[in-house]
C-alpha cells in the first residue's frame, strides 16, 4: 500500500473541486489588483522615463529637472522641422530674421522643465509635516499618557475618526474660507501648510499613538518609581523609544500630503509662477507667496492642454517624477517599518 493510497488521502470530489475553484477566484482577484496597479505604474514609468532620462551622458534630462516651464513652439523653417522652447525661439528669431513670420504651433508648458514645481512640493510637504507632526505628536502624548477614559476622550477620538473621513476638497474649501479669505493670507504657502497639516493630522495622531503605546509600561513605571515627574518620564523614557516609530509611520502621511491636489488648488498652488520661492524682497513675504506644485501641475498639463506627441512628453515626465517621489517615500516608510518592527521587540 503506497502513501497516496491510504484511507485519509485527499479525494478529488465535487466539494474539493469547488473549493479549488473558489480559492482560485480569490487568488485571481488579488493578482488582478496587483496587475492593475502595476499597469498604471509601468505605463507611467515606461513613457515618463523617456522624458527624464536621456541616452547620452549625463543620462538625466537636466533641462527638465532644473528649469521652469515654457511654451513649446513647433514650426517648419527652410524645410526643416524645429521644436523650441520660448526663450530659444526668441533667440532663434533674432539670428534668423526670416523666422519671425513663420507659422508656428504653440503648446503652453510643454517645453522647459518642472523645477519650480519640485521646489514648491518640497516646501509644502516640509512645512505642513512640521506642523502636523508637532500637533499630532503632542495630541498623541496626551491621549496615551495623560488622558483618563471619559466622555472628553471619547469625543476627541470621535473627532479624529471623523476628521479622517472628511474629503480633501472640503479641506480645500475650509482652507480657502479660513486662511485665504478670513485671515487674508491670500493664496500662500502658509495657507497651504495649515490646510494640508489639518488634513493629515488624523494619520499622524493614529501613527504616533500606536508607537507610544508600543513602549512597554515598565519603562514608565521604572522612571516614576525613581521619583521622576510625569513629564520627565515621558521625555526621557517614552519619547526616545517611540520617536523612530512615529517618524516612520508618519512618512505615509507625507506621501498623502505630497499626493493631494484638491486642498492646495485654492490655497497654495499657482498655475504658473516665474519666480522661485526664495526670490522675495522681504523675508516675511516668503510665507505669503503661492508656489507651483507637482500634483497641480499634472492636473494643469493633463486637462488644459491638448493631448499629442509634443505635450505627452511633459505630461508623462511630470507624472513620472511625481510618482517617483511619492513611491520613494512610500517604499521608505514600508521598509523602515518592517525593520523597526524587527528591531524593537520588548
Amino acid at each position: 500500500m503506497n502513501a497516496a493510497d491510504h484511507v485519509f488521502r485527499p479525494r478529488l470530489n465535487a466539494a474539493r473541486r469547488a473549493e479549488g475553484l473558489v480559492f482560485w477566484l480569490f487568488r485571481s482577484a488579488t493578482y488582478l489588483i496587483l496587475a492593475c496597479g502595476g499597469a498604471v505604474f509601468l505605463n507611467i514609468v515606461y513613457k515618463g522615463a523617456g522624458t527624464v532620462f536621456t541616452t547620452s551622458a549625463p543620462f538625466v534630462n537636466t533641462t527638465f529637472l532644473t528649469e521652469a516651464p515654457e511654451s513649446l513652439y513647433v514650426f517648419e523653417f527652410e524645410g526643416k522641422k524645429y521644436e523650441m522652447g520660448d526663450r530659444e525661439f526668441r533667440a532663434f528669431k533674432e539670428t534668423h530674421p526670416a523666422a519671425a513670420k513663420v507659422k508656428t504651433e504653440s503648446y503652453v508648458y510643454s517645453a522647459g522643465g518642472i523645477w519650480p514645481c519640485i521646489v514648491g512640493t518640497v516646501l509644502l510637504v516640509v512645512g505642513s509635516m512640521t506642523i502636523a507632526l508637532f500637533l499630532g505628536v503632542c495630541a498623541a502624548i496626551y491621549l496615551t499618557e495623560y488622558a483618563k477614559d471619559g466622555a472628553f476622550i471619547r469625543f476627541v477620538r470621535l473627532a479624529i475618526l471623523n476628521l479622517a473621513g472628511v474629503p480633501s476638497i472640503v479641506f480645500g474649501l475650509f482652507g480657502f474660507g479660513m486662511f485665504v479669505i478670513f485671515f487674508g493670507w491670500n493664496v500662500s504657502l502658509l495657507a497651504g501648510w495649515f490646510t494640508l497639516a489639518f488634513m493629515v493630522l488624523p494619520v499622524v495622531i493614529t501613527a504616533s499613538e500606536e508607537s507610544l503605546k508600543s513602549v512597554p509600561k515598565g519603562f514608565r513605571e521604572g522612571s516614576l518609581a525613581l521619583g521622576a515627574t510625569k513629564w520627565q518620564t515621558i521625555r526621557s523614557n517614552v519619547l526616545p523609544y517611540a520617536l523612530p516609530g512615529i517618524l516612520t509611520s508618519s512618512i505615509l502621511g507625507i506621501a498623502r500630503v505630497a499626493g493631494e491636489t484638491a486642498p492646495i488648488m485654492f490655497t497654495a498652488a499657482y498655475v504658473v509662477r516665474d519666480k522661485l520661492p526664495w526670490d522675495v524682497e522681504r523675508a516675511g513675504d516668503f510665507f505669503f507667496q503661492g508656489v507651483m506644485a507637482l500634483p497641480y501641475h499634472i492636473y494643469v498639463v493633463s486637462s488644459k492642454i491638448p493631448q499629442n506627441d509634443y505635450t505627452e512628453r511633459v505630461q508623462y515626465g511630470t507624472a513620472f517624477v511625481f510618482l517617483g517621489i511619492v513611491a520613494l517615500i512610500a517604499t521608505a516608510s514600508i521598509l523602515l517599518r518592517t525593520r523597526l518592527r524587527n528591531r524593537y521587540k520588548w
Partner: protein
C-alpha cells in the same frame, strides 16, 4: 504641598533639610509645571475637535448666504416674467423632443429600406417622401408658438436687465454711503422697476398666444389624423407610439393656458422654495443669459453613480483579496502582497486621473467598439471620459482601503473559531465562507462604507475622467447609463471655485455643495462606526 517652606522651618532648619526628597514646586496661576505641561498636551488633543468645528463654521459662514440670494434669484425669475415665458418655452421644447423622435424614426426606416430590403438610397428616400411630408408638417406647426416665445424672451430679458442694473446702482450707492461720500451717493439715480407696467406687453400677449395655440392644436390634430405608412411592422409600432405621445402632448395644452392665466408676478417666493430648489433642483446652470439654476441633484447623482460603479468593482476584488491573503495565501505571499497593495494606495489620485485621460479612456472606448462585445449595455460608445472610466480608476483607489480594513477585520476573528470549525470536519472553504467571513462581517461592511467615503470624496480622478457634463444620465436604457459623462460634487467645486466672484450666489452655492459633501462623509463615517459597534459578534 502648598507652602514650600513651613514656618516651623525657621526655628529648626535642620529638620527640613534632613528630609531627603524635598520637592520645590514652582507655581504659575495655581498650576504646577506638570499641570501646565499636561494642559498644553491636552490643548493639542483638542485641535482635532477645533478643526472639525472650524470646518463646519467656515462652510456655513460662506455658504449660508446662498439661500437668501437664491430666493432673490427666484423672485426675480418670477417678477421679470421669466417664469411666465418658460411655461410656453417648455411647450415648444417638448415639441422639439417629439420631432427628434420623428427624425430618429426616419433614420431607422431608411436603414431598414437600404440595408434589409437592399434598395438604393434615392429609391429609399423617394419611398419615404410621404413620411417626410408628415414630419415636415408636424415640425412646422410649432412656428407661431415659437415666434411668440422669442418675442416674449426679449421682453423678459429686458426687464431682468433693468432690474439687475438697478441692483448694481443700489450697491454702488450703498458703498458710496459707507465711504461717507453723500453727495456722490445722491447723484446715483435709481428708478425703481415698476414690474406691473413692465410686464404689460408680456401679459398682453396672452390672446395672441391663445390664437397661436389654437392654430397649433388644429394643425397637429390634422397632421396626426393621417399618419403615413411605414415599411415594417416594427416601425409602424414606433409610429403608433409616436402618435400616442403626440396626443398626450396635445392634452397638456389646456394646462399651459391655465398656468398662464393664473400666473401672478406678485406672488411671493416662499423661503423654503429656495432650499428645495437647491436640494431637489434637477438643473445646475450657471452664467446663462436667461436664468441660473443651482440644483444639486445632477451633481449628487453623478457622484453617487461613479461611486457605485467603483464599489461594484472594488468590493469583490478588495474583499476577495483580503480573504485570500488572510485565509489562503502562504506566509511568503502575504509578506509580498500586503506591501504591494499598500503601495497602490500611495499612487496619487491626480496621477491616476492622468492615466485615465491618457490611456484608460481611450482603451475602454476601443474595447467597447469590438463587435463581440456589442451585447454589453451601452457599448459601443463614443465619449472617452464617462462614468465607467472614472469608476474603474476610483475602484483602484477604493481597493486598498477596503482590503486593509477587511483584512484587519478577518484577522480579528479568534483562532478558536477556525479550529472549532475544522474539528467538526468542515473544509477550508466552508470554514472561510461560513465561519470566518460571517464573524467579521460587521468589519467588512464598515470597510466597504469607508471605501465609499473615500471614493465619494475623491476629487482629481472624477474631475479629470468623469466627463464633466452636468446632466442626470438617461436611465431608460438600463445599465447603459455607465457610458454617459457626468459631473460630480467634488468635481464642480474644484472646477468652478477658481473662477467665481467672491460673495456671489455661485460662490456660495459651491460652499453649500461642499457642506453637503461634508455632511455626507460624516454620515458615512458615522454609519461605519455604528455598524462595527452594533453588530460585532462577541468574541472571546
Amino acid at each position: 504641598m502648598n507652602a514650600p517652606v513651613p514656618p516651623a522651618a525657621a526655628s529648626g532648619p535642620d529638620r527640613a533639610a534632613a528630609f531627603a526628597i524635598r520637592k520645590k514646586r514652582v507655581k504659575l496661576l495655581g498650576l504646577t509645571v506638570d499641570d501646565c505641561i499636561k494642559s498644553f498636551f491636552g490643548g493639542n488633543a483638542l485641535v482635532s475637535i477645533v478643526v472639525l468645528t472650524l470646518i463646519t463654521y467656515f462652510l456655513v459662514r460662506e455658504g449660508a448666504g446662498f439661500f437668501g440670494q437664491n430666493r432673490q434669484n427666484l423672485q426675480v425669475y418670477r417678477q421679470a416674467g421669466l417664469e411666465y415665458v418658460d411655461f410656453i418655452r417648455v411647450q415648444a421644447d417638448d415639441h422639439t423632443a417629439l420631432t427628434r423622435y420623428l427624425s430618429d424614426l426616419r433614420l431607422r426606416s431608411l436603414r431598414h429600406l437600404t440595408e434589409t430590403k437592399g434598395r438604393s438610397l434615392d429609391d429609399a428616400n423617394a419611398a419615404l417622401a410621404p413620411f417626410d411630408e408628415f414630419a415636415g408638417k408636424f415640425g412646422d406647426a410649432v412656428e407661431p408658438v415659437r415666434g411668440i416665445v422669442s418675442e416674449l424672451t426679449e421682453v423678459a430679458t429686458a426687464i431682468k436687465t433693468k432690474f439687475i442694473v438697478n441692483e448694481d446702482k443700489k450697491e454702488e450707492r450703498r458703498q458710496l454711503l459707507a465711504e461717507g461720500k453723500k453727495t456722490e451717493a445722491d447723484a446715483v439715480a435709481i428708478t425703481p422697476v415698476d414690474f406691473a407696467a413692465e410686464l404689460k406687453p408680456l401679459l398682453g400677449a396672452l390672446p395672441a398666444y391663445k390664437d397661436a395655440n389654437r392654430e397649433f392644436t388644429a394643425k397637429l390634430t390634422a397632421v396626426l389624423a393621417a399618419p403615413p405608412a411605414l415599411p415594417a411592422p416594427e416601425l409602424e409600432q414606433r409610429l403608433q407610439r409616436f402618435t400616442a405621445l403626440a396626443r398626450d402632448y396635445l392634452a397638456t395644452f389646456p394646462a399651459v393656458e391655465r398656468n398662464l392665466e393664473a400666473w401672478d408676478f406678485r406672488q411671493p417666493v416662499p423661503a423654503t422654495q429656495s432650499f428645495t430648489a437647491f436640494i431637489f433642483g434637477r438643473q445646475w446652470l450657471t452664467a446663462s443669459f436667461w436664468q441660473d439654476w443651482y440644483g444639486i441633484i445632477p451633481l449628487f447623482v453623478g457622484s453617487l453613480l461613479v461611486s457605485l460603479v467603483a464599489l461594484t468593482l472594488a468590493v469583490p476584488l478588495g474583499v476577495g483579496a483580503a480573504i485570500y491573503i488572510n485565509q489562503i495565501a502562504s506566509l511568503r505571499e502575504q509578506k509580498l502582497v500586503k506591501p504591494a497593495i499598500e503601495f497602490i494606495a500611495a499612487i496619487p489620485s491626480v496621477v491616476l486621473g492622468f492615466f485615465g485621460i491618457a490611456v484608460l479612456g481611450q482603451a475602454l472606448r476601443l474595447l467597447s467598439q469590438q463587435s463581440w462585445l456589442s451585447w454589453v449595455p451601452g457599448f459601443p460608445y463614443s465619449e472617452r471620459l464617462n462614468i465607467l472610466t472614472a469608476g474603474c480608476l476610483l475602484a483602484l483607489i477604493a481597493v486598498p482601503t477596503i482590503f486593509t480594513l477587511a483584512e484587519d477585520a478577518l484577522n480579528n476573528v479568534p483562532r478558536a473559531f477556525k479550529e472549532a470549525s475544522f474539528a467538526l470536519g468542515a473544509s477550508r472553504l466552508q470554514t472561510t465562507l461560513k465561519i470566518i467571513v460571517p464573524a467579521s462581517l460587521s468589519g467588512i461592511i464598515s470597510a466597504v462604507l469607508l471605501g465609499l467615503g473615500r471614493v465619494i470624496g475623491e476629487t482629481m480622478v472624477v474631475l479629470l475622467c468623469a466627463g464633466n457634463r452636468i446632466a442626470i444620465p438617461d436611465f431608460t436604457q438600463g445599465l447603459a447609463f455607465v457610458t454617459e459623462p457626468v459631473h460630480t460634487m467634488t468635481g464642480i467645486i474644484a472646477q468652478e471655485m477658481g473662477e467665481v466672484v467672491r460673495g456671489s450666489i455661485h460662490y456660495r452655492a459651491l460652499f453649500m455643495v461642499g457642506l453637503v459633501l461634508f455632511v455626507v462623509s460624516l454620515l458615512i463615517n458615522f454609519a461605519a462606526q455604528k455598524i462595527v459597534r452594533r453588530y460585532r459578534i462577541s468574541i472571546g
